[in-house]
């Protein structure tokens, strides 16, 4: 198998797109996308932030439109394969209550050449935040608020 064979321009069978209510292990996600032929995996580990605009968050709740979220993540994976010379993509997003510092999302992308992995990972998190139907609620000591994205994902 040549190096080129590891770059798919369609959704690879090894890709995965998941929601989970359990803690996410960033290392486990990162290693699942490693093919023997590739050279680099780039991972984004997004996690619950304690301070937002000077206000202290107690914890967060993520809610997903589960089936559509998976469908949208799969679509993003397919698009990423078309746009970038990458090998595999894995996305795992957590839902439910998250404590400060808990990982909310991991996106891992492997590629023969690291530049494509960096670009695809950055593109994927940016698109995920615009189109994947998941909502975040920040809970403060004196109230709570649904965070609203400011992008219009009309397709």
């Amino acid at each position: 198998m040549s190096e080129q064979n590891t770059v798919c321009d369609y959704r690879c069978p090894l890709d995965f797109f998941e929601l989970t209510k359990e803690p996410i292990d960033v290392g486990a996600v990162a290693r699942r996308v490693v093919p023997r032929e590739c050279g680099a995996t780039v991972s984004l580990d997004g996690y619950a932030r304690e301070w937002t605009k000077g206000r202290k968050t107690e914890y967060l709740v993520y809610e997903a439109y589960d089936r559509m979220a998976i469908t949208e993540m799969e679509r993003l994976g397919r698009d990423a394969h078309k746009r970038f010379e990458i090998a595999h993509v894995g996305i795992v997003h957590r839902t439910g209550r998250l404590e400060i510092g808990d990982t909310s999302v991991v996106i891992s992308v492997s590629a023969p050449h690291r530049r494509a992995a960096f670009e695809a990972c950055q593109w994927l998190i940016s698109e995920l935040k615009k189109t994947v139907p998941i909502w975040k609620k920040e809970v403060f000591s004196d109230g709570e608020v649904w965070v609203e994205g400011d992008s219009n994902p009309d397709t």
């Binding site: 559509m68 909310s104 995920l128 935040k129 994947v132 998941i134 909502w135």
Partner: protein, 90 residues
Amino acid sequence: MTSRPPDETIVVRILFFGGARDATSASEVDLHVPSTATVKVVFDKLTERFPDLQRFGRSLLFAVNREYAGPDVKLEANDELAIFPPVSGG
């Protein structure tokens, strides 16, 4: 496809998420609507039933059968129409 009289009704399932669910205090509603109804027609009808939806102005998004859809998309029987604010995952 046979043409249906305009007074025929279909049932669509409405799903609310995020702030829209809080505003309606409902996550799922089955609604009888005219067989010619578009997303916009259904949404206007829902706004009458759940006036709190008005506070979202024009920011709410729609998905029909788990795909983003504009207000002019026509609904079919048993379609799943999801209504939600701009997403904020990640």
